[in-house]
Symmetry: C2
Subunit: 365 residues, 2 copies
């Protein structure tokens, strides 16, 4: 292996021919932001599983190993960042863990953005034996993780239903698994009672912050604090858009990967005054990633609503059963409009929703 | 199958994790130009074969069939263009031919841009039984083909060494195989004697047109003419850049696919006066594709020359044998700078090399 190149992401995720999940949601935004992407495709499916049916092969662990080995032999295994998403089997996941470990021996500070894709809303969509691999092998290697609410529960084995349980979960992720930056991008509405200072900031889009908003949270642990406060926590409310859109998490983690300024992390860990900043490296990256993701979702919703009603049937399991083309129609209508967002992606502007606000008494309230 | 969507390309080519050939060279430019791309990957290799070694799986014909079938079942097989490149086996190629045939029954005017990737400079790099499949099954379906010099010889079984032999080859492609638009993007220097009017046009970059230039040729047959002149032929000289760069043809055919204005084809076939234009649909698309490709090549060469000499060893088979890292180093240094060309791609400007000029007496001189 040779030294890392500047701005090259090794991205290990799924590939679908049609639609935007996995590497298909991650690659274009990263490229538009000037990153060379080396996309390792863990599967090649016709479309995402939400359609109900799909075709195409998985990449088996031996094939992944062959790809990695040839890249090493050719001096091509030199990412400046690693990003991983949907990796459906435990053996493939072990191959990836071993690779990241090797890369770290050569480049100890290599940032690794880990999206522990395992399930959503209480439903697992990988083999159950994948969970302990994430916990034991992957988490200890990760620089930033972007689990959803359910995945935090799976990783920490803590039922999340209150602020104290969230504190316990974050403590475990930071201190037991050693993850420096944790982003939980969509905490369901009503799960946490927020202090009044959060979400009623002066921002032009304040009318978007309804009680129905999701909460996005970024927690940064520079490893130096002892006592009850173990990390700096920033949050923002994100307006909830009706309906389920696939690939949102994959787009979000790719944007975090692109926007994350790791040098800041190093600086903030030191004693050079930057610790006094109102933001952390992960809160800054999260703000940009949330804003761009939300813009893509708004455009996707706008496009969805512009379609004839027959092309966007509502979510109704009974009706879906009676007409097999109904669910695929809904899925097609809700594919993310990522290619059309090229200019929004390039600006990386936070004008839409603003920045995250620090939740100063998160650990002590 | 449903009706074609606007600006959606089904692109069937190779995938490499690192570097830019096949779908990795084609997808980003098409996306940047506003096309949704459905990339079907015929292989997933670590890198292109020029490195000497590579790892990863082919997608077998049964897997391709499963992908296509699931797309059809989900209403996702609705491209507005088809683009095909490297498809290494004859069985896989037959599956693709069958698909394009089916798509045509639903959308008879669906443009199909076919890059018959078979070899270069006298060397075949697909199975020999692929050649007749291209000839018998694929060519009759193609709207535009972008063969190199060697591939024209393979397809037509005519040895190209003179203007009369090129005329015979073009006649065969247009009239026997029924291809409307033929682009031969790089005819080796000195192969054809050009009339003085070609290549000494008034253009700011005329000093680039050295005797060492390649010739790029676009031939458009609207099917109406009888007599000796069977097509309108446009050409331009393209400055030759020293050294071999992989993926150039794949980038070029993707750009042709993006820039080709098929409506013009239909109009020019009619009796509406547009036939008097100094350009044809394929000469216009070729000009834009050549200009962007050349800009990418110039930036790639500039980058190559900026590297330390140890990182860009010259082409020397003897030395390559003595040091196994030598050839991969050269290949790495010559990977196309496609991601960095985002702005050049978006403009699609022909300012660098200008347009093609009509070779009015091509058929009669």
């Amino acid at each position: 292996m040779s030294l890392p190149e500047t701005r090259r992401v090794l991205s290990i995720q799924s590939h679908v021919v049609s639609g935007y999940v996995g590497n298909r949601a991650a690659t274009f935004p990263l490229q538009v932001l000037g990153w060379d992407v080396d996309p390792v495709n863990t599967v090649q499916y016709s479309n995402h599983a939400g359609y109900g049916q799909f075709g195409g092969p998985k990449t088996d662990p031996a094939q992944l190993t062959a790809i990695f080995k040839a890249m090493e032999d050719n001096g091509l295994m030199r990412p400046s960042r690693v990003l991983t998403g949907y990796i459906p089997g435990s053996e493939a996941l072990k191959v990836v863990a071993e690779l990241v470990k090797q890369l770290r021996t050569l480049a100890p500070s290599l940032p690794y953005i880990l999206d522990p894709v395992m399930g959503d809303e209480g439903k697992l969509y990988v083999d159950a034996d994948v969970v302990p691999i994430y916990r034991d092998l992957l988490l200890p290697l990760a620089t930033v993780i972007t689990p959803n609410w359910f995945e935090v529960e799976l990783l920490t084995e803590i039922k999340l239903d209150s602020l104290p349980s969230l504190r316990s979960a974050l403590r475990k992720l930071h201190r037991e698994f050693g993850v420096r930056s944790v982003i939980i991008s969509s905490i369901p509405p009503g799960t946490l009672e927020l202090p009044p200072s959060i979400g009623i900031r002066s921002h032009p889009n304040n009318d978007l912050y309804t009680p129905d908003s999701l909460l996005c949270l970024a927690s940064f642990d520079d490893g130096t604090s002892s006592g009850p406060t173990i990390s700096r926590v920033h949050t923002m409310r994100v307006p909830k858009i009706a309906g389920y859109f696939s690939g949102v998490g994959d787009l979000f983690s790719a944007l975090v990967c692109a926007f994350f300024e790791d040098e800041l992390s190093t600086q903030m860990g030191g004693d050079n005054g930057i610790t006094a900043s109102s933001q952390t490296p992960v809160s800054l990256a999260t703000a940009r990633a949330v804003n761009v993701t939300h813009a893509v979702l708004l455009d996707t919703e706008r496009h969805y609503l512009s379609l004839p009603e027959a092309d966007r049937p509502d979510t109704d399991t009974e009706k879906d059963k009676a007409d097999s083309s109904r669910r695929p129609r809904r899925m097609r209508a809700r594919e993310l409009r990522i290619i059309q967002a090229i200019d929004v992606i390039r600006t990386g502007s936070t004008a839409l929703l603003g920045d995250l606000a620090e939740w100063t008494d998160f650990w002590t309230s």
